[in-house]
Symmetry: C2
C-alpha cells in the first residue's frame, strides 16, 4: 500500500501538482496530504478541458426603452427585499464575452489576479481530473484515484471548504460564510437563492439542483393560489349544491340496502349527509378546470425549466460543453480484469491441450518461442480481446434484477391487499359488535387506521427498496458512475413510485367496483363482502388517502426523491385534491433551506461536478406529466360524479336542473330477492319491501331485472368520451404551450448570436493586425523571417537556437514568452488545495477532514 | 448601378478574392464575372468558420470478431450489387480524426494537395460567405450579395457545375459525371444512393434531403410487405367470413328500407353482396394489427432517421456545428430602412414643433448646433433605436395572414360540401330515372365521378395555395431566409394538408352519421336526403377515396411536399388501406431518380448550404405520427365494423360465433310509420309491413320505439373504450420504441469518445515536446528567447525585426513561416470558381451560366 501511494504521489508531482504532507508522523488515525495546483498546471488543464472563461471584451446588454424599462425597474424594486444580499450580484448592463481558455491568447482574457481567475469549483475540478487520470502501474488496473480509494489505498479524496462558516469579526465574508448567512438558514426562506454563488462554490451539478428546486417552488405559488381558490369555491357552493342538499333532505327518505349481511339493518341515506357535503368540497365543476390548469401548469413548468437551464448554461459558460469521456467504475474494472484472467487461463489450457498430442521433443526447443507467443497473446487479450463486459457477463445480474423487481412489486401489492383485508375484516367485526357507539364509528375508525397502516408500510418499504435498488444496480455492473446513477434513479423511482401510489390507485379506480349488487354480492374468503365506497363517492376517500400519505411522507422523509414523488402528488391526482400544490409549496420552502444547511454546514464539500442538465430526472418528470393527463381524465370521469351529473342534467332531467339526481342514481332492489340468511335478521323497518342501492341497474319489475340499464351504458359511453376528449385536448394544449414557449429565451439567443459576431470580429481584427505586421516586415526585409518549429520538430532540435534579444520581441512567434514569464514568476504561486488522506493500513477506515482549512499555501 | 458594382467588386478584391471578367465587352445580354478563391483566403475563412477537416491522425475502426464479422461480411456481399459504383466508397477500416481547421497547426492536417483539401461544397460555401458579408456603403443597406441581387445590381450569383455530365472518352469521371451515371438515372433505382458524394457536390442540405428520402424509401419496403400480407389475408379469408357470407345468403332475405323517398323500392340485402365482400378485404382483424404495426413503424422510422442523421453528421464532420448568425433578408432590411426614415422624419417634426413656440430668434444662432444634434440623433436611431421590426410593424401582415388562412379553410370546406351536394343531387336524379341500367349503377357512377372531381379540385387548390402561402409569408416580413422557409413550409403544409384530407375526413367520420332513420330522415335543401354509407360500411368508400386521391396526386404532382403529404397517407389512414405503403414505395423509387436528374442535369448548381437536420420537417413528421395514432383509433373503432362484431361475438351471440351478426345490426321499421309521400309509391313487394335498416334502435313494438337501444350504448362504450386503449397502448409502445432505440448509434458514440481521447493525446504530446524544447533552451541559454508579439503589439511595431536566419527555425515561434511559405508559393494557386453575372442594366433579367466551367485558373 505504501509503495502504491508513493508511486501515485510521485506521478502526481510529475503531473505538476504540489503536495503538502502532515508534518507530524502519526501511527494511528488518519493522516492527510494536501494537494496544490500551480498556475501552469491550471492553465494547461483548462486549455485541455476547453474551459470557457471571460475575456476582456465585454458588450452592453440591450437596454430596454420606455414603458418596458420602467416596468422592469419597478419589478426590480419590488423584488429587492427578496434578493439575497450578495456583493457581486448587482444589476449589470454589460456582459463579458467568454471563450475557451488558451495559453496562447492570454492577452484576451481578463486576468486581474491569477489567484482568482479560475473559480473554486473549476480549480477543484481540475485537481480531481488529474487525480482520476493519473495511472498507477502497481495496481494492475488502469487508473485513477477512484480505483485507489476502492482498493483502500486512500480513504478519501475531497476538496476543502473555504473556511469556517461563521463570520469572525468585520472582515469580508468568504463564500462559505456568504452562503451560510444569505442562503442556508430558515430566516431567508422568502428570498431568491444565490444560484451563481452556489455554483461557484459547489459546482454546476449542485447549482442546477437548487436552481431546479427554486423554479419548482416558485411555480408552485400560482398553482397553490388557484388550488386554494378552487377549494374555496367548493366551500362556498356547498350550501347551494342540489345533490348534497337532496342527500341531506330527510323528507326524501331513501331506504338503503344494508351495508353488511345479516347483522346490518336498512338505513336512511340522509344519515350520510356529512360525507356528501365533504365530497362536494373536492368534487365540483371547478375541479375539472383545475385539472386542466394543472396539466398545463406541468407543461409550463417543464418549458420554464428548460429555459432557465439554458439561461444558466449561458451565464455559467456551459454552452457548447461536450460530454467528457468518463472513467469506468472500479467495480467494473475489477470484474473486467477477472474476466480477462479467466480468458487467459482458458486460452493457456487450450494451447496446452493442442501442444500435448504433438511431439514432446519439440517442446524444449520451442520453449523460448512459446514464451514469446504466450506473452504476445496475453498482451493482445489485454488490449483488444476483452475490451468490455458483454450482455453475457451481465445476464445473471439482469435476471436477478428482473426477478427482484417483480418480487418487490408482489410485496407491494400484497401489502395493499393486506390492508384491504384488514379493512374488510375489521369493519365486519365492528359491525357485529353490540355497542351502538362502535357501530356508528365504523367507517371513520377503519379508514383512519387503514391509512395510517398504509403510510407506515410505505415508509418501511421505501427504506428497504432504496437499499435493494443500490444492491441491484451494483449487480448490473454499470460501466461509469453516471450510468450507475441513471440506473439507480430509474430503479428506485419505479419501486418507490409504485409503493407510494399502489394504495392510491386502488382507491381511485378499483374500490367499490367489484362489490356486486344486493342479492349477488362478491365475497372474499367466502365470508366477507368486498368493500364499497362511501355513499358520497370514492373521491372523498381518495382525497383522505392522498392527503395523509402526502403530508405524512413529507414530514418524515426529506430528500430529492421526495421531490419527485411529490411532483406526482401535485400532478397525478390533482383533480381530487386541489390543496396538493399548497402542501408541496410549504414542504419545498422548508426543504430548500434544510438541504442548504446540510451542504454548507454538515457535509464534506462535494467534488465540483459539471452538468448541463438534470439528466434522467427531466425524463421522469415529463413522463409523469404525460401520465398525469390520463390519470386525471380517469379520476374526473370515473371516480368523481361529474359525468353522471352532466348526463342526468342534459339527458334525463325533466326540468334541466339537478333536482332528482339522487333518485336517478339509486337502483331498486326487492328485499324478497335476498339470498337465504343474507337479509337483515332483525329490522326496525319491518314493512320494507324495496331497498335502494347506488348503481344503474334495471328495476326488479323489468324483464331483465338487475341487469345494467340503458342509463348505465349511456353514462359509461359519456365517461369514456370525456376521457378521450380531456386527454386529447390537454395533450394538444400542452404541445401548444411547449411550442409557444421557445426553449431558448429570446435574449439569450440574441446574446449568443451577438457574442459569436463579436468573437469573429475580435479574431478578424487580430488577424488583420498580424497581416499588417507581416506586410511591413516583407517590405523592410526580403526574406521570410518567422519561426515555425512545428512543421519539422525533429529538424529543429539539431539547430542552434537563434539570438535571443531579437527573438524575444519578434512578431509572428507566438505564445512562448509570456508562458515562460508566467512560469518563472508565478510557478505554483496560485494554488488550489485538495486533501487526500492516505489510510493508515491498520487504522480507522473513515477519516474526517477538518472542514476549515487553515493552511492556504503560497509556495516558492 | 455600375458604381455600386465597382465598389462591391473592389471590396471583394480587398477581401482576397480573385476576379475574372468576360474578355469581350457586350452591350446586350448577360455578362459574367468569375470569382476565384486562393488558398490563403480559403484557409483564413475555414479557420473563422471553424470548418472541421480530417487530420493526418487516423485510428482503426473496431473490427468485428467471430460470428458477427462473418455476418457483416455476408451482408456486405449481399449488398454489393446494390452499392453504387463510386471509387472512394470502399469498406475502410480506419477513420481519420477531424479537427477544426487552424492555420497554426497545418502540420496536423492531411494536406496532400491544396487543390482538393477543401471539397467543392466547402469552397463554394466560403465564397458565398464572403459575398454575403462584404458590405457596400453605396447601397445604404447593410450588406451582402443578397441585397445587391434584390436591388437588381446583379442578376444572380451561383457556383458552377464541375463540367459536362456526360463522360467523354476514358478519362477519369468527375463528380458530376459520377453522380449522373451512378445516381441520376432510372436504371439505378435499386441501388443505394452515393450520399457522401451528393453532399460533397451539393452541400449538406441537399445531401440530407436525399438521405432522408432514401431512409424513408428503404423503410417502406417492410411496411409494404406487411401491407401486402394483410391484404392477402383479407383475400384469403373472404370466402370463410361469416358476416359477408350471411349478407350474400339469399335465403336470409332481409328486406331493406328504400334508399330514397318515393321512387325507390324496398330491396334485398343480398344484392349488396359485392361491396360486402370487398369491404372484408380491408375490414378484417388483421387491419388492427396493421394499424398498430404502422404506428410503431412511424416511431421506428423517426428514430431510425435520427440515428442516420447523427451518423451523417459524424461522418460529415458536422458534430458540434453551431448555428451561424444569419444575415437578414433584403426585404426585411428595406422595410426596416423605411421605418427608420419615417421615425427620423417624425422626430424632426416633433423637434420643430417644440422649437417653434419658443423664441424664433434663437433659431439662427442655434442652427449649427441643431444640425449636429440632428445628425447625432439620426445616427443613434440608425444604430440602436430601431434595431428590428416589432409586432406592430407586422400586425397588418399577421391579420391578413389569419384572415386569408381562415378564408382558404372556408374555400376548402365549401369545395368538399359542393362535392357532397353533387353526390346527393346526382344520385337522387339518377334514382328517379326510368332507365333500370342507370338505376343499378347509381352508386358506382356517383362515387367515381365525385372522387375525380375531388381530385381535380385538390390539385387546382394545391397550386393556388402554394402561391398564396408564398405571398402570405412575404407579408409577415420574416427576418432571415431560414425564418422565411420555416414559416412558408408550415403554412403550405397546413393548407395543403387540409385540402388533401378534408374529403377523406368527411368520408371517414361524418358520412352517413347524420342521415337519420326511416321515417325521420335528415334533409338538405328540404328535398334531398343526406347520403348514407354503402351497406358494407363506409370503410370501403374511404378506401376508394384514399387510393384514388393518393395515386392521382402522386402521378400528377412530384415534389418534396408530396412526400410529406404522402407520409400522411401512409400513416394517418393506414388502417383502412393497407396497400398505401406499397404505392408510396413505388412513387418514391421513381421520385428519387427524378429529383436526382433535376439536380444533376437540369438545374443550376445550388449554393452549398450547411444543415445539421431537416429542421421543421421533422416536427411536422413527428406531429403527423402522433396525430395518426388517434386517427387510426377512430377509423378502426368507428368507421370499421370491428367493434360491433367483437361486441356481438362476446356479449350477444348465443353460440359464441358470428352467426346472426347481420340480423343483429339491422333494426326494424314499421312501414306504416313512413311520413306521407315518403313511402315507395309502387312496390314489387306489396305485402311488406316491416323493413330493416342498419342501426341499433328499439323496434317499433317497444315502448321507446326508434330510440337508441341499449345495444347502441353498449357498442358506443366499447368503441370509445377501444379508442382509449388503442391510443394509450400505441403511444406507450411508440415511447418505448423511441426509448429503446438510442438516438446516437453505439459505434458513433464510441468513435466520438475515442476521437476525443485521441485528440487530447495528440495535443498533450505536442505540449510535452514543446516543453522539452523549452527546457533544453533554458539549460543552454539563461534568457527566455521566444517571441510573443501579441502581448504588446503597439510596442512591437516600433522595434526593428530580429535577424532572419536564426528566427526562421526558432522553436516556440509558431505559425508564421509556413503560412508565409504558403503565401509565396501558392498564392491563388488554389482557386474556387464562382460566377457572378452583373446584370446589364437595360438587358435581360435572367442570366444563364455555362454549366461547364472551362477556365480553371492558375494564377501566381
Amino acid at each position: 500500500m505504501v509503495l502504491i501511494r508513493e508511486e501515485f504521489e510521485a506521478r502526481l508531482l510529475k503531473a505538476g501538482l504540489e503536495m503538502e504532507r502532515d508534518t507530524e508522523v502519526r501511527v494511528f488515525g488518519p493522516s492527510f496530504t494536501r494537494l496544490h495546483v500551480p498556475w501552469p498546471v491550471l492553465s494547461r488543464e483548462a486549455e485541455f478541458l476547453k474551459i470557457k472563461v471571460p475575456t476582456n471584451k465585454s458588450y452592453g446588454l440591450k437596454e430596454e426603452h420606455g414603458f418596458s424599462a420602467s416596468l422592469s425597474e419597478f419589478w426590480r424594486k419590488v423584488n429587492q427585499p427578496f434578493q439575497p444580499n450578495i456583493p457581486q450580484l448587482g444589476h449589470s448592463t454589460t456582459k463579458q464575452l467568454s471563450h475557451c481558455f488558451s495559453r496562447e491568447k492570454l492577452h484576451l482574457f481578463n486576468i486581474t489576479s491569477k489567484d482568482t481567475f479560475f473559480d473554486n469549483a473549476t480549480r477543484s475540478r481540475i485537481v480531481y481530473e488529474i487525480l482520476r487520470r493519473t495511472a498507477c502501474t502497481r495496481t494492475s488496473q488502469s487508473m485513477g484515484i477512484t480505483t485507489l480509494i476502492a482498493k483502500g489505498v486512500y480513504d478519501s479524496a475531497f476538496p476543502l471548504h473555504d473556511g469556517d462558516y461563521t463570520a469572525v469579526g468585520h472582515s469580508e465574508r468568504n463564500d462559505r460564510q456568504l452562503l451560510h448567512d444569505e442562503w442556508a438558514r430558515y430566516g431567508a426562506f422568502y428570498k431568491y437563492q444565490p444560484v451563481d454563488l452556489i455554483r461557484k462554490y459547489f459546482g454546476e451539478k449542485i447549482g442546477l439542483y437548487f436552481a431546479w428546486l427554486g423554479v419548482y417552488t416558485q411555480l408552485l405559488i400560482p398553482a397553490s393560489l388557484v388550488g386554494i381558490i378552487v377549494f374555496c369555491y367548493g366551500c362556498y357552493t356547498v350550501d347551494t349544491n342540489v345533490p348534497s342538499l337532496e342527500m341531506c333532505d330527510k323528507q326524501q327518505n331513501f331506504t338503503m340496502c344494508p351495508l353488511c349481511d345479516g347483522v346490518c339493518d336498512y338505513w336512511h341515506l340522509s344519515t350520510a349527509c356529512g360525507t356528501a357535503r365533504a365530497s362536494h368540497l373536492f368534487d365540483n365543476p371547478a375541479t375539472i378546470f383545475f385539472a386542466i390548469f394543472m396539466s398545463l401548469w406541468v407543461a409550463t413548468f417543464l418549458e420554464h425549466w428548460k429555459r432557465r437551464q439554458i439561461s444558466l448554461n449561458h451565464s455559467w459558460n456551459l454552452t457548447g460543453l461536450e460530454e467528457e469521456e468518463e472513467h469506468p467504475r472500479p467495480k467494473y474494472e475489477t470484474i473486467l480484469l477477472q474476466k480477462r484472467q479467466r480468458m487467459r487461463r482458458k486460452e493457456k489450457k487450450k494451447k496446452k491441450k493442442k501442444i500435448e498430442p504433438v511431439q514432446r521433443e519439440e517442446d524444449v526447443a520451442a520453449g523460448k518461442d512459446r514464451w514469446r507467443q504466450r506473452l504476445l497473446s496475453a498482451m493482445n487479450t489485454g488490449t483488444s480481446g476483452v475490451e468490455k463486459l458483454t450482455w453475457r457477463d451481465r445476464l445473471p445480474g439482469y435476471l436477478i434484477n428482473i426477478s427482484s423487481i417483480l418480487f418487490m412489486f408482489g410485496v407491494t401489492f400484497s401489502a395493499v391487499f393486506g390492508v384491504i383485508v384488514y379493512r374488510i375484516v375489521v369493519s365486519a367485526v365492528m359491525a357485529m359488535s353490540p355497542d351502538p357507539e362502535i357501530k356508528s364509528n365504523v367507517r371513520v375508525t377503519v379508514t383512519a387506521t387503514a391509512v395510517i397502516i398504509n403510510l407506515v408500510v410505505i415508509l418501511i418499504l421505501d427504506e428497504i427498496y432504496g437499499a435493494v435498488a443500490v444492491w441491484l444496480t451494483e449487480l448490473e455492473i454499470p460501466r461509469t458512475e453516471s450510468n450507475f446513477e441513471e440506473h439507480l434513479i430509474l430503479k428506485s423511482f419505479l419501486l418507490k413510485f409504485m409503493n407510494a401510489y399502489a394504495p392510491i390507485f386502488y382507491v381511485a379506480f378499483f374500490k367499490g367496483r367489484f362489490a356486486g349488487r344486493p342479492g349477488d354480492y362478491v365475497y372474499v374468503f367466502n365470508n366477507y363482502r368486498m368493500e364499497e365506497c362511501a355513499p358520497g363517492g370514492c373521491l372523498i376517500e381518495l382525497c383522505i388517502q392522498l392527503s395523509i400519505i402526502m403530508v405524512g411522507k413529507q414530514l418524515i422523509q426529506n430528500n430529492v426523491f421526495e421531490i419527485v414523488i411529490q411532483f406526482g402528488f401535485v400532478s397525478l391526482f390533482v383533480a381530487s385534491f386541489p390543496l396538493a400544490p399548497l402542501f408541496a409549496l410549504l414542504n419545498n420552502v422548508i426543504e430548500i433551506r434544510l438541504d442548504a444547511k446540510k451542504f454548507v454546514t454538515e457535509l464534506r464539500r462535494p467534488d465540483a461536478v459539471q452538468a448541463k442538465d438534470i439528466g434522467i430526472w427531466f425524463n421522469i418528470l415529463s413522463g409523469m406529466g404525460k401520465f398525469s393527463v390520463i390519470i386525471n381524465a380517469f379520476v374526473i370521469s370515473f371516480t368523481s360524479d361529474f359525468i353522471p351529473r352532466l348526463v342526468y342534467q342534459y339527458m334525463y332531467s325533466q326540468t334541466g336542473t339537478m333536482h332528482g339526481f339522487i333518485d336517478h342514481t339509486l337502483s331498486h332492489f326487492n328485499v324478497s330477492n335476498f339470498r337465504p340468511g343474507k337479509a337483515p335478521t332483525s329490522s326496525l323497518l319491518a314493512e320494507i319491501t324495496v331497498c335502494r342501492y347506488k348503481d344503474y341497474r334495471e328495476p326488479p319489475w323489468s324483464a331483465e331485472a338487475y341487469q345494467f340499464s340503458k342509463t348505465y351504458w349511456a353514462i359509461l359511453a359519456a365517461r369514456l368520451a370525456f376521457v378521450i376528449l380531456f386527454q386529447n385536448l390537454v395533450m394538444f394544449l400542452s404541445l401548444l404551450v411547449s411550442w409557444l414557449i421557445p426553449d431558448v429565451p429570446k435574449n439569450i439567443s440574441e446574446q449568443l448570436k451577438r457574442e459569436k459576431t463579436l468573437l469573429v470580429d475580435v479574431f478578424l481584427r487580430e488577424e488583420k493586425e498580424k497581416f499588417h505586421l507581416l506586410q511591413s516586415l516583407f517590405s523592410s526585409k526580403d526574406q521570410p523571417s518567422q519561426g515555425h518549429p512545428d512543421t519539422d520538430t525533429a529538424h529543429v532540435r539539431t539547430l542552434p537556437p537563434g539570438p535571443s534579444q531579437g527573438l524575444g520581441q519578434h512578431p509572428g512567434g507566438e505564445g512562448g514568452e509570456s508562458r515562460a514569464r508566467c512560469r518563472a514568476a508565478s510557478f505554483s504561486q496560485f494554488t488550489r488545495q485538495m486533501s487526500m488522506s492516505p489510510s493508515n493500513d491498520a487504522g480507522q477506515q473513515m477519516s474526517m477532514s477538518p472542514s476549515n482549512d487553515t493552511a492556504r499555501h503560497t509556495a516558492v
